[in-house]
């Protein structure tokens, strides 16, 4: 009996010593709504492993995403996970902590992810722990961090409505542009870059948007309306003047707000308007 007690105490000591020799910390900072973008965003997940022993240690990073009520959303397939060796300190990012190709998602979440590349909007928990290769026994304390996911939606253009005909005389004085705000409204107000391009005769609208210099290229912050004074002759004798306009949403660094979605430019679907005499 004494032998068993002694062995148990010894094993506990060894376990706690081994745990104490590997220190970990986890930070999750505003991860993008599209999960595959996590791999390109180093700031999204930062997992620091510090091995203070003199011996190089090998381990696997076990990771799990759950909802706030504990429902498992995804777990890492440990049998396919990469084995890392660390002596000293090493920082791991999302592409190592949560490689999507070996994450196993529960059915309903998998369906949404396969369709949209995203999880349903809500609050989640990321649990990360180091485990031994082979036996998957714990080698560090479990780190958990709460994070929120909500896909941003770019503005929709409101007015002038698509294919609207505007009076030339009124338009020469002012044209009012309106669009819906970026949702959800971020803490740092986004920049909206309003661009208006003239569609020259024989040009396709998209040719004008992607090829011409805009007559108006105005960046505003936070507001969703702009009054443009064109200061030009818009009256026409024969051909209707045509314009195409769009809004580009930029972040606080004036970079496209959702750089990896669709066209990568974070430009709203453009509208066309005409000028009539």
């Amino acid at each position: 009996m004494k032998k068993y007690i002694f062995t148990t105490i010894l094993l506990s000591c060894v376990y706690s010593m081994s745990m104490s020799q590997v220190m970990t910390s986890l930070a999750v900072n505003n991860p993008p709504a599209t999960l595959s973008d996590w791999a390109n965003t180093n700031s999204a997940v930062i997992y620091t492993v510090e091995n203070i022993s003199a011996v190089t240690r090998q381990f696997i990073i076990k990771a799990e995403i759950t909802t706030a009520d504990g429902t498992v959303v995804a777990t890492k397939d440990l049998s396919r996970a990469q084995v890392f060796s660390v002596q000293g300190t090493r920082i791991f990012f999302a592409k190592e902590v949560l490689p999507l190709d070996i994450m196993i998602f529960s059915a309903s979440y998998k369906t949404t992810l396969e369709r949209t590349g995203q999880l349903p909007s809500g609050t989640y928990l990321l649990n990360v722990q180091l485990v031994e290769p082979g036996m998957f026994g714990p080698m560090s304390t479990l780190q958990s961090r709460v994070f929120n996911l909500t896909a941003p939606q770019l503005p929709y253009l409101i007015t002038p409505v698509n294919n609207d005909s505007l009076n030339a005389r009124k338009s020469e004085t002012a044209i009012i542009f309106r669009w819906t705000p970026l949702t959800p409204q971020p803490q740092a107000q986004p920049y909206y870059r309003l661009q208006v391009f003239e569609i020259l005769p024989f040009q396709q609208p998209m040719q004008a948007l992607r090829g011409n210099q805009p007559l108006l290229d105005q960046t505003v912050r936070g507001i969703t309306q702009y009054i443009w004074r064109p200061q030009m002759d818009l009256s026409t004798d024969t051909l209707k003047k045509r314009f195409i306009w769009t809004v580009q949403t930029l972040n606080a660094n004036r970079q496209p707000y959702i750089p990896t979605q669709g066209n990568g430019e974070s430009r709203s679907e453009p509208f066309i308007f005409f000028i009539k005499d």
Binding site: R115, G117, P120, S121, Q153, T180, T183, P184, M232, D233
Partner: protein, 582 residues
């Protein structure tokens, strides 16, 4: 590049001469030519005071030469050769893959979205598509993107077979941006994107149209040395089915269902555990999404009544390279109508609809209500009115903010036109009033701010029976009120047009003077003047000259600093060009 331009200029002269020769001989020839060719030069000037102040930005290229070459040659009854070349000598890309590009290679010049080099030889029902083509198969597959390449469009009897392959953009190295610097003005960069697409269908005009569309596009990762800092190399496949049926008495049903597979980043690993491959066309990666889109409309068209119901659903993961700016995750429902009544003296165009965002639950739910009305009534020969009304309401939750987003835009326009005549002239008087109201709720405080705009306009146009002078006069008052900002504008404008030189020349001049006021600052003043001359040098050759200037002088709204009090700028714009119409 200059060689190409010289050649085109030469061709322009040769075609002008040969076409004139053709006229003079008046011989019946199987060869015919119609269309237009021409070129134009545009110059722009901007003079800002004080010099170096950043009060106004250049909005046109300093110098630009544009060429237009769009003749259609016909050889006999069955063969046509239309050209559609329109291009500029200097790139001016501010959006899209070539944004910021300054010195394009020859390849980038030809594939620049601003330039078009299309050639469509057609023999009976077989058409060859060469050069730049905006291929439009359907609303959900492809239609918005210019592609430089080659393809066919075959229409034997009721069958449709179309195929096209090409490049919409070549690789463009991005500007390396330092941390915190703006992307505006920098070269965004782009990967070379290759496209393949085909359509197989059956169509009988005004009876039915059935088609299967398939499009694929893939970026070439190795096409750039400095990759774009934002967008990743992508790959997308879209397949869609169209079924349109047109029935008796103007009834119709139009439908399209589409499925897209789109990889946002082809550098991400393959995802064998995900069911997102569409082999052999696309192998799923961790960044691949697949989703549905569909639209349907049912309606009736007749001379005096159009009515339709349209529904359009775009899934959150639906992305197609043929419509690069399509916004996903929405469901639109609209009812549209147009009718004429009261012996065709009353015309009404109206629509009402709703847009719901976030059907996938990956984003916050948002709703838009949309209503438009345009109601024209001709009461008598002398008097008519037009009423327009637009309403947009947008509501959405606002994340962690205490109040949701609520923006409501209401625009009401009333126009009354009255005309009377005497022996010398007809007088047309028009008065209009517009009220534009925009309410926006602050998501933190819940306070709704109202932004009102009033526009009053009076215009007078006399039409002289014994004179070719055609003047018009108008005065407009614009007032916009926001909680802390009041803007008012008073504009007087007039134009005069007249033919000259035995009607070979058409002259038009316009003057516009605006007095603007912002809050209690002193007024700013703006004068816009322009002259347009169209001179028919021959029956088919027209020379056009446009001269415009815009002078703007601020009040004291930019001060401090004191140096900006009374700051001003003058823009000049001159265009001249020759256009030959066959």
């Amino acid at each position: 590049m200059y060689k190409i331009m010289k050649s085109l200029l030469g061709l322009f002269l040769v075609l002008s001469i040969s076409s004139n020769a053709q006229d003079s001989t008046k011989m019946k020839s199987p060869f015919k030519i119609s269309g237009v060719i021409g070129f134009s030069y545009e110059g722009y000037g901007l003079n800002i005071k004080p010099t170096g102040s950043n009060i106004y930005s250049q909005r046109r290229p300093w110098n630009q030469v544009r060429f237009l070459f769009a003749p259609t040659m016909s050889f006999g009854k069955n063969f046509t050769l239309p050209f559609n070349f329109n291009f500029a000598t200097k790139p001016t890309n501010f959006a899209g893959p070539y944004a910021g590009i300054k010195k394009p290679t020859i390849g980038q010049f030809f594939t620049n979205p601003g330039n078009n080099f299309g050639l469509n030889p057609k023999y009976k029902w077989a058409e060859l598509l060469l050069g730049t083509q905006y291929i439009r198969y359907s609303e959900l597959s492809t239609g918005d993107i210019g592609i430089f390449g080659a393809g066919i469009d075959l229409r034997p009897k009721t069958w449709r077979f179309k195929f096209f392959t090409g490049t919409s953009q070549l690789g463009v190295d991005a500007t390396i941006l330092s941390a915190g610097s703006s992307s505006i003005g920098a070269v965004t960069g782009a990967y070379r994107r290759n496209h393949w697409m085909f359509q197989l269908g059956k169509e009988k005009e005004n009876k039915y149209s059935f088609a299967f569309n398939f499009t694929k596009a893939k970026d070439k990762q190795s096409s750039v040395t400095v990759p774009p800092s934002t967008v990743k190399p992508q790959e997308g496949v879209t397949a869609s089915l169209i079924a349109d049926v047109y029935m008796n008495k103007g009834w119709y049903v139009k439908t399209e269902a589409a499925r897209s597979y789109f990889t946002r980043d082809i550098t991400q690993p393959l995802a064998p555990g995900f069911n997102n491959s569409f082999k052999p066309f696309l192998t799923g990666r961790t960044s691949t999404g697949k989703d549905w889109a569909g639209n349907a409309s049912i309606g009736k068209k007749s001379a005096n009544l159009d009515i339709s119901y349209t529904t359009k659903y775009i899934g959150a993961g639906f992305l197609t390279t043929g419509y690069p700016y399509l916004q996903p995750d929405r469901w639109d429902n609209t009812i549209n109508t147009r009718f004429n009544t009261w012996k065709n003296k009353m015309n009404v165009v109206a629509s009402i609809g709703q847009r719901i965002n976030n059907l996938s639950n990956t984003a916050l739910k948002a709703q838009q209500f949309i209503a438009n009305l345009n109601w024209f009534t001709q009461f008598t020969e002398q008097f008519s009115t037009n009423i327009t009304y637009n309403n947009f309401g947008f509501t959405a939750a606002s994340g962690f903010n205490p109040y949701g987003i609520k923006n409501v835009s209401n625009d009401l326009g009333l126009t009354a036109n009255y005309n009377w005549r005497n022996t010398k002239r007809m007088n047309m008087l028009s008065f209009s009033y517009n009220l534009s109201k925009y309410d926006e709720r602050d998501v933190t405080t819940g306070i709704t701010t109202t932004n009102n705009t009033h526009i009053l306009m009076l215009s007078y146009v006399p039409v002289y029976f014994n004179s070719e002078l055609a003047p018009d006069f108008s005065v407009l008052y614009f007032k916009n009120t926001m909680p802390t900002v009041k803007t008012s504008l008073l504009t007087f404008s007039s134009s005069l047009s007249t033919p000259a030189f035995k009607k070979k020349m058409q002259l038009r001049a316009q003057l516009q003077y605006t007095l603007g006021k912002l809050n209690s600052y002193s007024s700013n003043k703006n004068l816009v003047a322009s002259v347009n001359i169209d001179h028919k040098l021959t029956k088919k050759l027209t020379w056009n000259v446009f001269l415009g200037t815009n002078s703007f002088k601020y009040g004291n709204e930019l001060a401090p600093p004191a140096s900006l009090e009374g700051a001003s700028y003058i823009e000049t714009n001159y265009r001249t060009g020759l256009q030959y119409k066959f």
